[in-house]
């Protein structure tokens, strides 16, 4: 075999003689002749410098797994990191379905040939709509931050205004994405991002500051429920009322995992709702499980302002039969290029299928149990940690799954504390000491349904130990 090329397992036409046979059929003497349309001086002068090929599955697997094993996972450690990516339980059925090659593979197909995928997408939108109490849900965009960005731009298109109010205590990661979407001030399409102060005693929006900043130039008010730092915005209906009175849209961000126990945003005046898809059956994937949804009431002015793919149920040529396809396809960038609403493209649609399976498995009672369990365990964790000397829970009684732990009284930095915890197999909460809000040496802890009471006690005991 020496000297003879082996056919590659992923390339059928690399078998001996196939290329030569096709060249003969097209009347080309060589492969080079088929590339004759490229001028000679365009071809690269430097040869490719890639590591040796791993054409054997055995070698490839060894390389991949060998490298990945240098990671330490949240399965082998006890993790309390959240802040936009959360460790939730993923039912096994979800992994089976999203791994189906018919879904995971490349193709787009047609409404008929790939009917099942279109139905699964519609079922994601429908079930999420039931959790939100809203009639229109778009297929998810890249991330929650991107969903907020598009929602703000929707509001700007709808109102013809160019200012958005957002909480001062926003996730810096999402806020940075929002600023990108709102463009720098030099651009004609710039949307001014103005922050609303927080009430320091509750973490909620300061209603007076909001009222003072609302005006005829405000396109939208954006807030989250639960908010970035875990607090529940109990003044949601009042915020929406104030925004509406000023002619502004109310955009809310919600955690879908909370919607079995927290009021649906469609019921407190939200106009456009965004949120993360990852809690709905998607693994953390090192942040690669991100996805963001956008939803609204079924009013034409909203529907016409969406940027992406709206899947509608429709009738087929066979009486009584239903199919699914894209509504309003001409308003996006595929239909109108630079004149479409923002842009669209490949996004995170596989996670819509994950979410559809996940929501169908939980049902109304599952979501209620999930929310009940999460909030109880999170409050328990807050209570145990707050009992440790020098440790203070910033807003102990108004959180869902995340809460701020302040360590000013310990004389230690969050970084030092997290290093000590990590040495004991625990990933402490995200260090927010340098973030906006002036919360001192603080960390954002996340507790979900995967954390048992024993896990929480272990955290409290270990923290007590490392702070001694």
């Amino acid at each position: 075999m020496a000297g003879e090329r082996r056919a590659h397992p992923w390339m059928a036409n690399s078998a001996p003689g196939i290329i030569e046979g096709m060249l003969k059929e097209i009347g080309a003497a060589s492969v080079d002749e088929v590339f004759a349309q490229i001028p000679n001086d365009h071809f690269r002068s430097t040869p490719l410098d890639l590591p040796p090929a791993l054409t054997s599955e055995i070698e490839l697997r060894r390389d991949l797994v060998g490298k990945l094993k240098r990671n330490a996972s949240c399965e082998d450690n006890l993790s309390f990191i959240g802040a936009g990516v959360w460790q939730h339980h993923v039912p096994a059925i979800v992994d089976e379905i999203v791994g189906r090659t018919e879904f995971a593979t490349n193709v787009w197909g047609s409404y008929q040939s790939d009917h099942g995928r279109n139905q699964a997408w519609f079922e994601f939108n429908s079930q999420l709509g039931a959790l939100l109490n809203l009639d229109v849900v778009q297929l998810p965009v890249y991330s929650w931050g991107c969903a907020i960005g598009h929602a703000i731009r929707m509001a700007a298109r709808i109102t013809g205004r160019a200012k958005v109010l957002v909480p001062a205590l926003s996730d810096p990661e999402r806020l940075s994405v929002i600023r990108t979407y709102c463009q720098p001030s030099e651009m004609d399409g710039h949307i001014e991002v103005v922050t609303i102060a927080a009430d320091p005693t509750t973490g909620r929006l300061d209603a007076n500051d909001l009222a003072a900043r609302l005006g005829e130039d405000v396109a939208a008010v954006y807030f989250e429920n639960p908010a970035y730092l875990g607090t529940i915005e109990s003044g949601a209906a009042e915020i929406a009322r104030l925004a509406r009175a000023a002619g502004a849209e109310t955009i809310v961000g919600v955690d879908p995992a909370s919607l079995g126990v927290i009021k649906a945003p469609g019921d407190y005046g939200a106009d456009i709702v965004t949120g993360p898809v990852q809690p709905l059956g998607v693994h953390m994937h090192c942040g690669g499980g991100a996805g963001g949804f956008i939803a609204s009431r079924d009013e034409e002015r909203y529907v016409r302002a969406y940027n992406g793919f709206l899947v509608s149920v429709v009738e087929t040529r066979e009486p009584g039969q239903l199919g699914f396809g894209l509504a309003c396809p001409h308003q996006n960038s595929y239909g109108m290029r630079e004149n479409g609403n923002d842009w669209t493209g490949n996004s995170t649609y596989l996670w819509a299928i994950a979410g559809a399976v996940y929501m169908s498995l939980l049902g109304p009672e599952g979501f209620r149990e999930l929310g009940t369990l999460i909030v109880a365990r999170a409050r328990y964790a807050a209570k145990l940690l707050g009992d440790i000397d020098g440790v203070r829970i910033v807003w102990p009684d108004t959180t869902f799954k995340e809460f701020v732990v302040n360590f000013d009284g310990t004389g230690r930095t969050v970084s030092e504390i997290n290093d000590a915890l990590r040495a004991r197999g625990i990933f402490g909460g995200k260090d927010i000491s340098d973030e906006a809000g002036g919360l001192g040496r603080s960390a954002l802890y996340c507790v979900t349904e995967v954390h048992s009471a024993a896990d929480i006690r272990r955290l409290a005991d270990t923290l007590t130990e490392v702070l001694q």
Partner: protein, 520 residues
């Protein structure tokens, strides 16, 4: 002549999941809060005004019923299990070796905010992928935040914003120049970033003229965004001159490498003079596109532009890998976190499994196979190649037209796409807007499909041409062997009929029923 499959899709008449189940049915249990938790904090913890009182209208089914339902849906999805020569998207084999590796807890159960000491494996893979893409493009730095090719185009527009702002010229450099045939994401993302879009028309030879480019670029041009070859499969031999002219005007030059498959290992974007480029890891690099993401638009650029990239950038210091967040000139975030990391790992696996020789061979096969396909399609009466006066060979895909047969029979490209599925052939890609030829279709064989697959595909096209002549109504009403019949499009633009959720559908059905009763 190959033998077309006698295919019929599974037809389960599967209800919408909201119609399944029974009151009280359960698919998942969660434990009740432990006694120690109940006694310490209680259980009714949501403030009264925010507590949910209604029951969300979700299905109540068993775990098995959920599994069966979604397996039925997967069975009613052809999903490339026929032959898909879906041009512009480069259908690939998506390695299950790589897929299974990414599902291990060492990646699936990893958080991006973990301490870098606990992320050395994934950081190494990203760093190594960056290195391989640098070799393929000549660029100095790649990042993977962008969640798709369009998002990478948006990254370019935002990097250009930051670059011109840093030079104090953002108010002056306000225009982006592209071709009318560039992918819609280029003009759309540039516009969303705030730039004015200048579209250059195509000449007979398939690409815009140098004179048109010279007239379009000026001191107002911030950047140009261009693909090559384009979706016609035509390689623009003047591309180096393009870059020279644009740079003479001071513009940044972005190479949309969506159509990389035919030139892999043959061209270097940097050697051609480009400042930045983008690769689709979910297309060219073998990560599954999953019907529309999670995807990755890998964005690479020169050292000069690297300062403006979104953070974090994966760097290597000694034998440690780290995340560099301290980049004061960064444009900010394009998307949260570092990107769709499992897809980067799968693309890394593809690149390693192919190696330099495999990648170059893949490009050879892609272009030779497409030229073979062009020859055979040209022999089918009723089809017409785009830009018929262009004598040079096409690259890895070709834009074709059903214009002649549509004129003869009234059967167009949508009808063909629908009918193809009846033979177990995945519907083809037609064209992005605007349609430059009548009734377009755009096949791309890539390096995956065998000559037998390509022959089968062509034979089915030829057969549908015959059917269009002998029984046009049958083709017009296709498909006939699918899970459902042709969907009716009347609801898609009608606010009274469109229904994006089941609750909207039920509401509109009730309204329509009441209307009928009222009329009776």
């Amino acid at each position: 002549m190959t033998r077309p499959p006698e295919f019929h899709a599974a037809k389960w008449n599967e209800p919408v999941v909201m119609e399944l189940g029974r009151p009280g049915g359960r698919g998942q249990h969660f434990p009740a809060p432990e006694d120690e938790i109940r006694s310490a904090v209680g259980i009714d913890l949501i403030p009264g005004e925010m507590a949910r009182t209604d029951r969300p209208d979700l299905p109540e089914i068993t775990e098995f019923e959920a599994q069966r339902h979604y397996l039925h849906l997967s069975q009613m999805t052809l999903g490339m299990m026929g032959v898909s020569l879906f041009g512009t998207c480069t259908m690939k084999y998506n390695s299950k070796t790589a897929e299974f590796a990414t599902l291990r807890p060492e990646l699936a159960a990893v958080h991006p905010y973990q301490h870098p000491d606990t992320l050395q494996g994934v950081l190494q893979i990203i760093h190594d992928m960056d290195g391989m893409l640098r070799s393929l493009s000549g660029m100095d730095q790649f990042i993977f935040q962008a969640g798709g090719g369009a998002n990478a185009a948006y990254t370019m527009a935002c990097v250009a914003r930051a670059y011109w702002a840093d030079k104090g010229m953002l108010g002056q450099r306000t225009e982006m120049v592209t071709s009318v045939q560039a992918h819609p994401c280029n003009p759309a993302t540039a516009a969303a970033a705030g730039f004015k879009v200048v579209n250059l028309p195509l000449e007979e030879n398939g690409y815009p003229s140098l004179d048109a480019l010279r007239a379009a670029v000026s001191g107002n041009t911030a950047l140009i965004m261009i693909n090559n070859p384009d979706d016609m499969g035509i390689y623009n031999p003047e591309i180096k001159e393009w870059v020279r002219i644009a740079k003479e005007a001071g513009a940044l030059c972005f190479y949309d490498h969506a159509n990389f498959n035919g030139v892999m290992g043959k061209l270097s974007a940097r050697e051609l003079g480009f400042d930045a480029c983008m690769f689709m890891l979910h297309k060219t690099f073998g990560a599954p596109k999953a019907g529309g993401g999670p995807a990755v638009g890998a964005f690479g650029c020169s050292d000069e532009l690297a300062a403006y990239l979104p953070t974090p950038v994966v760097v290597k210091a000694g034998d440690r890998y780290a995340l560099d967040e301290d980049r004061p000139k960064s444009m900010g975030k394009i998307r949260e976190y570092w990107g769709n990391v499992p897809q980067v790992v799968k693309a890394y696996a593809w690149t390693r499994a192919m190696g330099a020789d495999g990648i170059e061979l893949g490009a050879d096969i892609s272009v030779v196979s497409n030229n073979y396909m062009d020859k055979r399609l040209a022999e089918i009466p009723g089809l017409a190649i785009s830009n018929p006066d262009v004598s040079a060979r096409r690259m890895e895909m070709t834009r074709w037209s059903l214009g002649p047969i549509a004129e003869e029979t009234g059967i167009g490209t949508v009808d063909f796409a629908n009918r193809m599925a009846d033979y177990g052939i995945d519907p083809w890609w037609m064209s992005h807007e605007p349609w430059i030829v009548a009734e377009p279709f755009t096949p791309e064989p890539g390096e995956l499909w065998s000559k037998e697959d390509i022959d089968l595909w062509i034979d089915v096209v030829a057969k549908i041409c015959e059917e269009a002549r002998s029984d046009p109504e049958m083709v017009k009403s296709a498909p006939h062997n699918q899970a459902i019949a042709q969907v009716k499009g009347d609801a898609f633009e009608d606010p009274a009929k469109w229904a994006m959720t089941w609750r909207a559908w039920k509401r509109k059905q009730e309204a329509a029923d009441q209307g009928k009763r009222g009329a009776a």
